[in-house]
Structures are given as structure tokens and as C-alpha cells.
């Protein structure tokens, strides 16, 4: 528990404090503890704002999941559970090293502090590397937010797209090059301070590419399986990705259930057309066009003339793979993971700042606040991922 003890100094030394103020104590605080308590309360309040900030997206998620559960089930299959799980592990490990860094700073273990901070940074970079693979893969497939969504189940892997992965990697390549140059220069000038910073940072930047490699390796394993499945699917029906997983049985069952619950009632389109010409009946008009879209999206006709349904899985797909259904899922996916990734980037920024200060040995048992505060922030980012992972990747 908090130890509030009245140290005999406090209360007498406000006057002329400037000489017995240690250098790390800001002028308007009386004691290091007051400074620490203030910072700590401040960072907790900041975390509160972060929680409420993310709550908006969780709310959007809940609304749309409640509205169209089948969309979420179907689309979640496009997310690679292995990559998500690896990233979860990486973030958890980075949380461990971060908590360890706080311990090191409290015990004035300066070498350990630099090491654990560098480890945390490396994990952050691996995380981003894996994310780069996930994002570039989905962009190439057209699995994008509603307005940009162009996934075509008949041609899930179009080839005429820019190399997104390269685009993502370029800034990190530049950073790597910069750090390596810095390292070489500082080695040449034998500046030990700079070497001590540039060395871990080089490792950190390299870790991004470790992440990319890891992601590419896991993704390619997945992909070849997917292609196999796709070929096996001789109907040429859409959405090989949905059938791809080992649990396809469960999906099929479930989708069949959806179909059974009266999914495809015969619709007399001509009636609809008549109704939709009435300008007051814009709802029907848009419904009709939506229907057309869906039919178009389904590619090969899945609704036969007499209204029979060609099979459970297909039904789900018809509903699921349009910009206004799957697109919304991916909107939410990109908003949540994207803003989370931005937080990781911000975390990397402050961690680098801490690393420099740790090399400078700024921290001690009376002044470890910054490490502690950044640690709390970093754990919150991890905490959010702990929820994002099952909510996005593990929908059966």
C-alpha cells in the first residue's frame, strides 16, 4: 500500500528550495513522491481517456455484430488466426519486458533497463511487421472498408495491384538505413553514448523485418492450403476462404441453419420493379438495387428461378460478401486495428525516448516515473489487443 510517511524535511524546506531540490524534481513540486503521484494520477487519467476513445469503436462493433452476426462469422474467416495469435503472444511478451523495465528502473539496474526497453521495442516492431503482412494481403484481395471494398469471390487474388507490402516497408527501411548509418558513424567516432543507443535501435529496426518474415511464412502456409481448397471446390463457387478452415463442417452446419430459418423466400422481382418506380417508395428501390448487387456479387447465379437455394454456405456468402456487409466488417476491423497500430507507433516513439534517457542513466529510485508511465500506457495498448484478438479473429 502507499506509504505516506511524513518525512521531517517536508514543510520546512519550501523556502529556498532551489538548492536542495534534486535536478529531476520540477520546481513546483515539494517532494519526489508528490511529483511521482501527480504523474501517476495523470497517466491513469490519460488511460481513462484512451478507454473511452476506444469505446466508440467497440460500440460500433457491438451494434453491427448484433445486427448482422452472420457477416461477422463469415468475414472473421478471412482473418488469419495464426497471425493474430502470434501477435498476441508478441504483445504479451513485450508487456512482460516492459513491466520488467519498470522494475529495473526502480532498482537502478541501468543495463537491464536498456535491455528490457530494447526488447519491448523489438516486440513492438515484430508486431507491426506481422500486421504489415496482414494488411497488405487484405488490401491486395480487395478486403477493404465499405467504400473501397472490391473483393470478388471469383477472383480472390487479383494480380494487378501495387506492391502494398513494399509501401509499408519503405518507411521502416529508411529508418533502418538511418540507424545503421548512425551506428557506423558513432562506431567510427567511437562515441560510446551514441553507440549504446544506435546498437539496440538497429536491432529494433531489424525486428520489423523479422516480423514481416514471420508473417509471410505463416501467411504463405495458409495461402497454399487455401489454393488447394479452391481447386478442390470444383463448382467454382465463391469464397474459398470460408471453406478453407479445418472446421468447415461447423460452418456449413451453421450456414445451413441460417438457410433453413427461411433465408431465401422467392421474390417476385417484377413486383419489386413496379414498386420501385414509385418515387415515394425509395426504400423498395434501394432494396431492389441491393438485391441486384447481391446477386451480382454472388457471381454465378445462386438463386435459382424457383427460389431454391443451392446450398447452405452459398447463402451466407450472398449476404456476406458485399461492400455494405463484409465491407462494414472490414471498416470496423481497420478502424480498430489501425488505431491500435497507431498507438503502437506512438508507444515506439516514447519508448525510444526512454531508451535514450536510460542510456543516459536518468532514472533512479526516486525518479522512475517516466518509465512507469510509459509502461502503463504500453500495458493499456496490450489490454486493448487482448480484447481485439478474440473479438475479431476468433468468431468461430
Amino acid at each position: 500500500m502507499s506509504t505516506i510517511e511524513a518525512s521531517p524535511e517536508v514543510g520546512h524546506d519550501e523556502h529556498g528550495h532551489d538548492h536542495d531540490h534534486p535536478p529531476f524534481l520540477a520546481h513546483h513540486f515539494d517532494t519526489p513522491e508528490q511529483q511521482f503521484d501527480s504523474g501517476k494520477l495523470g497517466i491513469w487519467l490519460f488511460l481513462v481517456t484512451e478507454v473511452l476513445f476506444f469505446s466508440g469503436m467497440f460500440c460500433a462493433y457491438a451494434i453491427f455484430r448484433a445486427l448482422r452476426p452472420e457477416v461477422f462469422e463469415g468475414c472473421s474467416q478471412f482473418l488469419n488466426t495464426k497471425l493474430g495469435a502470434i501477435n498476441t503472444g508478441v504483445l504479451l511478451f513485450s508487456s512482460l519486458t516492459m513491466a520488467w523495465a519498470v522494475r529495473c528502473s526502480q532498482l537502478e539496474q541501468h543495463k537491464g533497463l536498456v535491455g528490457t526497453l530494447a526488447a519491448t521495442l523489438s516486440c513492438a516492431m515484430i508486431f507491426l511487421g506481422v500486421k504489415a503482412i496482414e494488411y497488405s494481403h487484405k488490401w491486395a484481395m480487395g478486403l477493404l472498408p465499405a467504400g473501397l471494398f472490391f473483393y470478388d469471390p471469383n477472383n480472390p487474388h487479383p494480380t494487378d495491384h501495387p506492391n502494398y507490402l513494399l509501401f509499408i516497408c519503405i518507411p521502416f527501411l529508411i529508418a533502418l538505413a538511418g540507424v545503421v548509418i548512425w551506428l557506423v558513424l558513432s562506431l567510427l567516432t567511437a562515441n560510446r553514448f551514441h553507440i549504446a543507443i544506435a546498437m539496440p535501435l538497429t536491432v529494433v529496426c531489424l525486428c520489423f523485418f523479422v516480423g514481416v518474415g514471420l508473417g509471410a511464412f505463416l501467411e504463405s502456409g495458409e495461402e497454399s492450403a487455401e489454393h488447394l481448397d479452391g481447386h478442390a471446390d470444383s463448382d467454382g463457387l465463391a469464397g474459398a476462404a470460408i471453406v478453407q478452415s479445418a472446421e468447415s463442417n461447423a460452418i456449413a452446419e451453421n450456414a445451413a441453419a441460417v438457410a433453413a430459418s427461411g433465408a431465401m423466400v422467392p421474390v417476385d422481382e417484377s413486383v419489386l420493379e413496379i414498386l420501385s418506380t414509385d418515387p415515394t417508395n425509395s426504400g423498395v428501390a434501394s432494396g431492389l438495387s441491393a438485391l441486384e448487387q447481391q446477386t451480382a456479387a454472388a457471381g454465378t447465379s445462386t438463386i435459382t428461378g424457383d427460389g431454391e437455394v443451392l446450398g447452405g454456405i452459398t447463402t451466407t456468402e450472398v449476404d456476406v460478401l458485399t461492400p455494405t456487409t463484409a465491407g462494414v466488417f472490414f471498416s470496423i476491423y481497420y478502424c480498430m486495428t489501425g488505431i491500435h497500430a497507431i498507438h503502437i507507433l506512438a508507444g515506439i516513439g516514447v519508448l525510444v525516448w526512454l531508451l535514450v534517457r536510460a542510456v543516459r542513466r536518468d532514472f533512479n529510485r526516486q525518479y522512475f516515473g517516466p518509465v512507469d508511465y510509459v509502461g502503463l500506457y504500453w500495458h493499456l495498448v496490450d489490454l486493448i489487443w487482448i480484447y481485439l484478438f478474440p473479438l475479431l479473429y476468433l468468431i468461430r
Binding site: 502507499s2 488511460l47 467497440f58 460500440c59 522494475r103 479445418a246 423466400v265 484478438f389
Partner: protein
């Protein structure tokens, strides 16, 4: 600063210390517990728990979150006030999500009508419209 002598009772020479270092064992134990729970969540996704699925997943995630908050974020050693405000924020998140989600579930269906909803909705007014049209 290096001038601070290490002393076992955690009290340096200028006043008392307010640091509460977590022991390495605790940190490692928490980490392994978290990894274990992650494995469980991934594994459970292969089984069909029906309606309980979301609940299971959220429960495991919450256990993980509590572990992170209590140990990695030092909440157990922190001032209770800090913990209260942080946990308190979830009350407001709850308010926000419950009202908004509840209202949304009671009113707006999908704006793009589902195919199966479209048919009966159309069948009713059809009579009226067709009659009145010419």
C-alpha cells in the same frame, strides 16, 4: 542517482522510497498465465459453444485483462484512488455501449434489407399499390 545507497528496507538516504518493484517470479508467472489463457482462447474457437461463445471469449479476455492490470500495471500496489478511476471509466463505457446498442437493437434493422426480410415486407403493400396505381 548513484549517490543513493542501496539498502534492503527500500529507504534511501533522502527520505523514503515509494517504489514497489514487482518480483521477477511474479512477472514471469503472470506472463505464463497470460500465454496459457491465450492458448485456451484459440483452442476454444474450434469448439462450438453456441450462444455462450461470446461470453466465454469475453470472460477469458477479462481474466487476462485483470491479470495485466493487477500485476503488470501494479494496480495491487498502487493507490486505490487510481484503480477506482480506471475501473470507473468502464462504468461510463458500459453506459454508452448499453444505451446505444440497446436502442439500435430495438429500432434500426439493417439499412440494406436482408433478402429474406424484403419479401414479406413487400407482399403486404403490394395489393394496395397495384390497385391504386392505374
Amino acid at each position: 542517482m548513484s549517490a543513493h545507497a542501496h539498502s534492503d528496507d527500500g529507504h534511501g538516504k533522502d527520505g523514503h522510497d515509494f517504489a514497489h518493484p514487482m518480483s521477477v517470479q511474479t512477472l514471469l508467472a503472470v506472463f505464463f498465465a497470460l500465454t496459457f489463457l491465450t492458448v485456451i482462447t484459440v483452442a476454444q474457437a474450434s469448439f462450438d459453444f453456441g450462444a455462450f461463445e461470446v461470453a466465454t471469449v469475453m470472460f477469458i479476455a477479462t481474466v487476462k485483462a485483470v491479470l495485466v492490470m493487477a500485476f503488470f500495471m501494479h494496480m495491487i500496489a498502487d493507490k486505490p484512488f487510481n484503480a477506482i478511476i480506471f475501473i470507473g471509466s468502464f462504468v461510463f463505457v458500459g453506459l454508452f455501449v448499453i444505451f446505444t446498442l440497446g436502442d439500435s437493437m430495438m429500432t434500426s434493422g439493417s439499412f440494406e434489407p436482408r433478402v429474406e426480410e424484403l419479401a414479406p415486407a413487400v407482399a403486404e403493400p403490394m395489393e394496395v399499390q397495384v390497385d391504386g396505381a392505374p
